[in-house]
Amino acid sequence: MSDITINVNGKPVSGPVEGRTLLVDFLRGAGLTGTHVGCDTSQCGACVVHVDGKAVKACSIFAVEAEGAEVATIEGQANPDGSLNVIQQAFQDHHGLQCGFCTPGMVMSAAALLKENPRPSEHEIREYLEGNICRCTGYHNIVKAIMAASGQDVSAIAAE
């Protein structure tokens, strides 16, 4: 066990880790339980966070590897005044979540996508979400929300 410090959402978070402690367990252990675990084969994306600005599966990186890095999680996504950010708001407006379990990973992936590609097409969004599984929404409203968050007109996409 050694103590490490990771900057999470702009604030230093310290805690004891072993070599085998995954970043996701470090975060959840520190009370940041918004990042979820949905599989053991690195495929579901419920755990996606940003490490130094890049989308990473927090279940597939050791905490020690993120030492000193800037980590962003779902808990730090809202605007400074506490209101939902553009992506979060679009997810609510377009019903892009149901049970909410995949949602943190979806939002973090969407944020990474929009940083790389500010106006993605439907196809680009679907492709980008290959590593984020949602069992509830059928993806329709997630894709729609991400298009809306990027400022595209989604009124033509089938109702509700």
């Binding site: 805690g15 004891p16 072993e18 070599g19 085998r20 402690t21 995954l22 996701v24 367990d25 959840r28 252990g29 520190a30 009370g31 675990v37 053991d40 084969t41 690195s42 495929q43 994306g45 996606v48 490490v51 890049k54 989308a55 990473v56 599966k57 279940c59 597939s60 990186i61 050791f62 020690v64 590897e65 992936s109 990474a112 996508l113 980008y128 979400l129 290959e130 590593g131 984020n132």
Partner: protein, 280 residues
């Protein structure tokens, strides 16, 4: 729904990692990495996108992991004097996708491995060392006649792969760089396994002045292989038509839930034809 959990713990709680315990080192030079790897049952860790899931299922039991991701010498893409594209072993798939413009088919292959989060961590060195029979990079290395440079030697791709999940790398030997001669034309066509989205069959076709090389991944029981009949046919006539007349390769093909040996053999032909077409 508001707060339940009457007596919520306040301090950090260790959640379930459930791997075997091991030491962890993160050297910043190759020399230090090699020293650390001298320990018994030490194992290199690169992007961890294969090794971490393996550790979770307790299928590996290293005493120590030596991370290669903090070593600047192992990272980056450049062009050598002879025109080959050199990729550092710890270069991520995302970096290759964005930075291998000199070899577009390679960049495209890297940009289609797994998903964006996997590409931000997974590396070429880890992929080649792992030699998963369904992985993409082995096809690129073999079809390009790449050279795998390790800390102690240079290995031609033709000699590097040694059957499913095995390579000729020695214990403690690490890949440092991979050198790809850049072809005139090339394309990688991947037919995805529906669940894992790895290659059910992937074919890399590369046309060089001295001939065409065709490497197939995902299909054969012995892992990635060169389809020599197709190479011969395409070297004299680089067209999809040249492939359609061929018999399917006679390697022993994988048969599983996702495809019979016959299906895989058929897909090898289809994907080869598509690669030739896409290469232009």
């Amino acid at each position: 729904m508001k707060g339940q959990g009457r007596s919520k713990a306040t301090g950090p709680v260790q959640e379930e990692t459930k791997m075997y315990a091991f030491d962890f080192e993160r050297p910043d030079t190759i020399d230090d990495a090699l020293k650390a790897l001298g320990a018994e049952d030490a194992q290199p860790l690169s992007g961890g996108q294969t090794l971490i899931p393996t550790l979770k299922s307790r299928l590996a039991m290293p005493s120590k992991l030596v991370s290669l991701t903090a070593i600047p010498e192992l990272k980056g893409i450049c062009t050598s004097d002879d025109g080959a594209l050199c990729v550092g072993a710890a270069t991520t798939h995302a970096e290759v996708a964005a930075g291998a413009g000199a070899y577009p088919a390679l960049a495209a292959l890297a940009g289609n491995i797994g998903d964006p989060a996997v590409r931000n961590r997974g590396t070429i060195g880890g992929s080649l060392a792992n030699n998963d029979p369904s992985a993409c990079y082995p096809a690129a290395a073999l079809a390009s006649g790449a050279t795998i440079v390790t800390n102690s030697r240079q290995i031609a791709a033709d000699d590097f792969f040694d059957g499913m999940f095995t390579t000729v790398l020695d214990e403690g030997e690490i890949i440092v760089e991979v050198r790809f001669p850049v072809p005139q034309k090339a394309s990688y066509q991947k037919f995805e396994q529906p669940a894992s989205r790895f290659a059910l069959v992937g074919v890399f076709v590369a046309k060089y002045p001295d001939g065409v090389r065709v490497a197939v991944t995902g299909a054969a029981e012995d892992g990635v292989f060169r389809w020599t009949q197709a190479e011969t046919a395409l070297s004299s006539d680089f067209s999809a038509g040249a492939v359609s007349g061929l018999d399917v390769p006679d390697n022993a093909m994988i048969g599983d839930l996702h495809g019979s040996p016959e299906y895989r053999a058929h897909l090898v032909k289809v994907m080869t034809g598509r690669a030739v077409k896409a290469a232009g």
